[in-house]
Symmetry: D2
Subunit: 350 residues, 4 copies
């Protein structure tokens, strides 16, 4: 940390800062230039509590040098984290696609989509049983019944299940049914929930908050890691900007950034990231080209009657076509998308 | 709702839209212009479930006409909501200031600040016992012990207490100790929490999410109102923009907008809204000039050692000075800030 | 400037950075901590050309310590700049209001509004003769004829004139007619234009770009100051955010920030800053409460037929009422708004 | 256009709106629902001047139905615009890469980079002779001398030249030297400049403003088209968001959106769009995967000493590698990147 003092500040105020820092056990390094006095502070801030040096008069600004996250950083772990669930690996050479409806609507819907999802080659199905809706008057999800349908679909097809948890009180029940717990964008800084999913032994898909900086997002992952759960998958789903043609602005540059700063896998959600089905195909391909480890995509047999997020859902045939195009893209990126043939076999056996 | 069809769209696709809408029981109104076919849709969407017309081919866009909120709207209730707690009214002629530390740090700290807060003329004290912190390594709050200190301070001074609730599981315990439950910016769309505080009989201070549109914010209030709790106080605390000199960009224009669109009281938080103590005084005055019903301000006897948010906390003497300046501002705005004299008497009696 | 090297970087890469910096004549200060090597760089970067240290491998980040502006800073000039035009002072104790239509539409319109503006107590009239319009199909302004009408209005009423310049080729002609040259938000970083107005001897009203950081805005002023024109007035007019209920988000916190960082006067434009006439009155008062040196406000006798920006224009009676309310606000802020009486006399004499 | 009246508005106010609209020659369509009266307005607004209906009391909002642009729209022209300069086509099956330094620094630099650029397979070289710099103390460009060097490099290599024009007064001189005129992000709404480049017969590369909506950007193109110049190439170069790890947030979703809404070619600038050389390679590939017609990339033999934008410039070997990877990407996208072999031959002949 570097403390920059105001120009022409009194010696007394400089000593106030030095005194406070030394009382906390930091080593200091004073540099008195012509324009500014600068105090270099050595030592790990996370071990010594918070400081509010900017509250002291005479302090112009405080510049952090070290990143505030430790466990998530590449410095802590150089090799990529690979999360394995059964024979599905997330974060390795294989690309993983999570496909399915925004919301679980009925048993029939889920069984139908599960077959489609699997036929297309995805190995994980998404589907919300507890839905975060902007309006209290919108469909709020089938809750536990929805989870049961998802579990049934897994039984029938062998496909894995990811579903969102919104309440600390539901973590346990979700963990009983699904393979991956999703923490949604609106709950990225629901710290009580982060602490709770950290106690579960399930992998967590952590979506980026709609106005979260990259550092805040990594810090949210750090909560889960620090709570003892090492299986965190990050998911870019678009950020809020001034542009309103799209629902969100999908920020694909975070893919190589997250790969550079952390060892965690990252996938991309082009459905929420754009809000328009027309844009899902090109942005899905762009995400893989940028280096993403996978995708989460909304698929619905009849988007116009979907109880949630229909405008951004792909029809089955468009999903199938996308999966084929992604296979080519995976190839030139040195990745692979598991062939649907093998999956089908697993399916019939399952 | 208006459905705008693409130019040159086939009659068949128009009929698909009409069919879907009629099947949901809407009355329609077709207008076939030279450039576009437009379908006017009459009827209350909230009563008929969600629709995803944009998922249909040939639909260019869907334009909502009615606001999605009902209970919060001025149309539903023309007169201002006034929330009364003891003899303190929020939303009426009196301005209310909620002052105190970001976090409850110790019994001594709270008792000391309670006296200062009261002496300055504020009638409500803020103080966090459960703290939402970006880092898992930062001070997370004293939890129930912190609430006990706050309750003690109320005993001693007669001042009311507002404190943040972060977890559905803590609503009940918070409600036992405090007068106003605060839902923080990061939890504005924690819908499980909104539903839970709606069941409490305590007033709720609902902070605007850091990237929440005005409509989303009102919809979050609507969750609480729809859940049966009519006592909602909105709080502007700055939004996230590209500007980084300040912690957030305080959006004062929402004050007259909220007054225009809703009947709910609105207060402003210039401490979080700017992140810098230097800016608290001018922005507090500006908030009152814009028509706010009150303020929430961080005050700390020694900001540089505060365990949270020191850089934006006022020292006691700066708080006292601000309260005096606010009295003048209240005067020309036709509002009043209760004189500290009376309060003191109440205090000694209490 | 502080150069932070990556963790575990080789000695060779550290020496590459040191070599480059020393070759540019900087004094260095090396600090090798456990986590990072940090290189403190002393000396004025502006004197030694640009550097792109981040392009070197092994460099994690470069942190600037000094502000990039010099002439605009409080450090360069401690006392406020006061700009005087005739007996009108901008930046001193008097608040100045610039009022008038968005666009000059006709001679009659301008003569009528000039009387209204003056009667309300403003001493400066705004009116665009060259209009920046988003659409090529919108009214683009009366150009030189518009300037002539403005000059006539000044003749008749004694009121000063501010009008926008959009093209380097028009600076001279504008300077012949008006008292203050306005550089609009969209041209805040039109550097050719900034250099050209710097050569004029007219005061320049420099609007903040709609996505300009505070530092970029001050740097735009620095262009004008560095070009030899010391008469720069800053104008906050709202920034672009995700919120779309308003045309822009008026950022009033910049008022005390600009006062802290620079010696330049700052005024606020609540008309463009909100885009809605209903919000002009409360935000105008809030701006003065935040410490602004004045306002620029759109006034039009018949806003619904205005050729530009009608929705945000005040009708004459609402302008009159606002001016009265502002007088009270000026009073408690220790400022004054010149009484219309004196102005009228000047007018009849002029 | 749809005019939505406030709830419970008087008949008189409705008639005011109707009267104003009829006086302008619009056909109307009144719909009086239970909740709102809605007035549908038929006719082309662009032909009938501006209207400020929101300035009328009783009007809640005005909702546009038609896009404000005509010439740029797919409705006006269904097939893609292909811009041909010599044998180089922009917007067709061939991908075009524009590569080179941010600024022209010297004759030697330009001749050296031109060879590199060409060797890598790009057919167009970028290089700024007039530089828009945030600071007046930064290198401002070699001006006409820089243009001469660029022209010399074209002579020597056969490569085409694109360079930025910043001032209406320089359009003619630029047009004498370069093949494509660039209008930079900061000048996207410099309407005087747009009108001036519209008069030139050179293709214009129009960068998206850093806070420009898609609609504003297309409207800027519309200025050039309406001025008689049909050769407009759009360029996404990142928008300003709250995220500061990158210089800008590259918005790749605009690629398929622009292709959907307009017939104009669009290229992407991953150098400015990220500000970091590490991110250029993945984002360049992602741009092509999203459907872009080409790229503009900064290449510099020694980025750390570049006079401008070094941190985002690729070294020659990284540029060469990227071009090879792009060829593969072009292949699966059904596009082609011209082989360097042929180019070289043209070069030696030229």
């Amino acid at each position: 940390m570097i403390v920059v003092m105001e120009k022409g500040v009194s010696q007394e105020k400089i000593e106030d800062v030095i005194g406070l820092l030394e009382s906390k056990g930091f080593s200091l390094h004073l540099s008195q230039g012509v324009e500014r006095t600068i105090i270099g502070v050595l030592g790990d801030k996370t071990q010594k509590g918070d400081l509010a040096l900017e509250a002291l008069e005479g302090v112009e600004k405080v510049v952090p040098i070290l990143t505030p996250y430790k466990l998530a950083s590449r410095e802590m772990q150089a090799e990529d984290t690979i999360i394995q669930i059964g024979d599905v690996k997330i974060g390795g050479k294989d690309l993983q696609v999570m496909a399915g409806p925004c919301a679980v609507e009925s048993r029939e819907q889920i069984m139908e989509i599960a077959e489609i999802v699997k036929k297309g080659g995805a190995r994980i199905m998404r589907g919300g049983a507890y839905k975060p809706r902007t309006s209290p008057y919108s469909f709020q999800g089938l809750e536990e019944k929805g989870l049961q349908y998802l579990a049934e679909a897994r039984e029938a097809t062998g496909i894995l299940i990811v579903s969102e948890v919104m309440d600390t009180r539901s973590v346990e029940i979700l963990a009983n049914y699904v393979d991956i717990l999703q923490v949604g964008a609106r709950n990225m800084q629901n710290f009580a929930l982060l602490k709770e999913v950290a106690k579960s032994n399930k992998p967590v898909l952590l979506k980026r908050g709609l106005a979260a900086t990259i550092e805040e997002w990594i810090m949210a992952a750090e909560y889960i890691l620090a709570g003892g759960n090492k299986q965190v998958i990050l998911c870019e789903r678009g950020i809020r900007t001034f542009e309103n043609y799209t629902r969100n602005t999908l920020d694909l540059s975070v893919v190589p950034i997250i790969k550079h700063l952390t060892h965690l896998p990252i996938i991309v959600d082009p459905s929420h990231g754009t809000g328009k089905w027309r844009l899902v195909n090109p942005m899905a391909k762009a995400a893989i080209a940028a280096g993403a480890d996978g995708l989460i995509i909304e698929v619905h047999p009849d988007p116009s009657t979907a109880l949630s997020d229909g405008p951004q859902s792909l029809k089955p045939e468009k999903y199938m076509q996308l999966m084929q195009e992604l296979e080519q893209m995976a190839g030139i990126m040195g990745r692979s998308l598991k062939p649907s043939v093998n999956l089908h076999k697993t399916g019939t056996e399952g």
